[in-house]
Symmetry: C3
Amino acid sequence: MLAEMLENLKKKAPLVHSITNYVTVNDCANIILAFGASPIMADDEAEVEEITSVCGALNINIGTLNRRTIPSMFLAGKKANALSRPVVLDPVGAGASRLRTDTALRLAAELKLAAIRGNISEIKALALGGGTTKGVDADVADAVTEDSLAAAADFARRFSEKTGAVIAITGAIDIVAGSKKVYIIRNGHPAMSKVTGTGCMLSAMTAACLAANPDRPLEAAAAAVAAMGLCGETAYSRLEDGEGNSAYRSRIIDAVYNLTPEMLESGARYEIM
Amino acid sequence: MLAEMLENLKKKAPLVHSITNYVTVNDCANIILAFGASPIMADDEAEVEEITSVCGALNINIGTLNRRTIPSMFLAGKKANALSRPVVLDPVGAGASRLRTDTALRLAAELKLAAIRGNISEIKALALGGGTTKGVDADVADAVTEDSLAAAADFARRFSEKTGAVIAITGAIDIVAGSKKVYIIRNGHPAMSKVTGTGCMLSAMTAACLAANPDRPLEAAAAAVAAMGLCGETAYSRLEDGEGNSAYRSRIIDAVYNLTPEMLESGARYEIM
Amino acid sequence: MLAEMLENLKKKAPLVHSITNYVTVNDCANIILAFGASPIMADDEAEVEEITSVCGALNINIGTLNRRTIPSMFLAGKKANALSRPVVLDPVGAGASRLRTDTALRLAAELKLAAIRGNISEIKALALGGGTTKGVDADVADAVTEDSLAAAADFARRFSEKTGAVIAITGAIDIVAGSKKVYIIRNGHPAMSKVTGTGCMLSAMTAACLAANPDRPLEAAAAAVAAMGLCGETAYSRLEDGEGNSAYRSRIIDAVYNLTPEMLESGARYEIM
């Protein structure tokens, strides 16, 4: 099933529009190419609607958020919504500053998002409205472990129900939740956290996969998450003596480049809740 | 002859000012160093004229174009013109949005450009004035193949005649045209299209080569184009099992770093029309 | 002694806020991770104070300086000062444009800097107030060699005395000066100058090391400088046939990733003046 998602991606090779941060933007562009799609980065208000119009999906990432590009995110997002193109939000650093939390909340409120991908803190910041809403959700632990997995999966499922977006929470164990069905994915390697931008890259891949599979956002997001985790494992196993996080970064992108639908199907380790 | 261009570059090690996009800027800086020149990136209106003044050439790239840096491009370009320093334009995405097409057209109209480098779509968007002017040029095919080569070369030659700039159209076959003479260059590898920024990097190299050979822009641009293509081949041949577009990117820059004038002369495959 | 600095860094794993240029920002983020700290990049006025507040140090780098981020540098710097968090300034290109020189001078005047790291030209531009103040300092040579070393070290020591900041001047020979004590560090490799951003990366590492050792800024900065130089040597020795500046860049970050306190202690070559 995940294989089919990647097959569609390779076949359609969609164009993906990213409005993203300047820290990891090059890696996002290269991993979109590696995955089988084509990247366009454009962030000026004067052109984002046109660029979104020729793309299969929009990837909004709020790292290095600034006042110049925030209006662009809304313009592009609304255009994508009008054209029924999937919009993916990566709320980088939501919870770390009022600007990020508020912008992420506004994006989630004003746009129809197809998927939201972040770590547990970012997703919680978004779900809890910047900490102002307290409730059962506040009990979700700050790291997803075997012990907290069931609660986190339920939290993600309910947040998906509320927003209509697929919720991907990545960490030691990955959760990809629709409103009725949740994928628990156990690929990946802890060293991925030592490479800047693995989350941003995954969000870009998610947008690419949704562009090729717009009617199956849950499976498409699960395929992207499993692909990234699996490639993190493959890349780690290929590290040579003396190599570190820079070689690892490059080897992760290369593993995505060489990933086939069959490799994804056989290498993905997941269960459905 | 191409060897001499690279010899001059290595000897003079010129400083090159780039106003470029944030996606591939690091690769542009490293490939300028690899080629034998020195990079400076500066894009604020308050300093671009001063920075251009101490540089041997200016490289303007309109990827991630935005309202803050557009005026900087004109200021720097006019300063470079006043000082008779070569200006290279890379019209990234011209034709994809009105902002890009119009800005590229205005840059071409208001600045004296020494060279313009893009793919066939971008150069056509520029030559055809954003699609509003229809004519014989519109018949130029959207990919340069053996069948369409003669027409594309003639189109490039006439566009060079009209603009006074060397026109470099890169793709499966590369065309580098002056108003009277056209280089057809057959180096390169298809996998280069899977690395983001090979075009941007080539434009940066072109600016570097023109900075060192300001009186021979056609030969300098041809040398840069042949160098990039040849290094794309060398790098591809060095790829190891399991490597992909990220390793390829790095190996291309490394091949440029190790390219000697003799290697360029013997490895370049071109004819002159 | 240097070992202890790195041990503290690995133990505390501080968060480091960088307001930096878009050319080398990805390398800065990855080398901060490699060194044992965590990076956050944020440059909008609306959030920099909040981000600085949760970080152990602030790294200000004026490459690709622009009007949007200059006020952010002051806001973040003042917040860091108020919270007694170390602030590191990298005056990239000071002396090359009025904007850079003036901004660096204003930052040095209005903020309490824990360390300033640059090459000799940049530090001179800063010390001499943009060339308007002539005096004995103007006699400091433009490259630090064995012949000019004593004068340069004395210049750095006096500039440290004047500013209260540790002054790190890097080049063929590195100088790290407090007001009373100067480290002369002889690690490094000339090929490091062919990799864009080795200076930026070192400034980021310096901020990380100061975050973990806020009460010993001189030793912390010396440890970062020696670490970068040593890793430049290690990485160079690991280069394979056909590799160039791109592989070297990656191998430098990887060497930092694999650097232990013991390796730093035994590999650092320095004397104290």
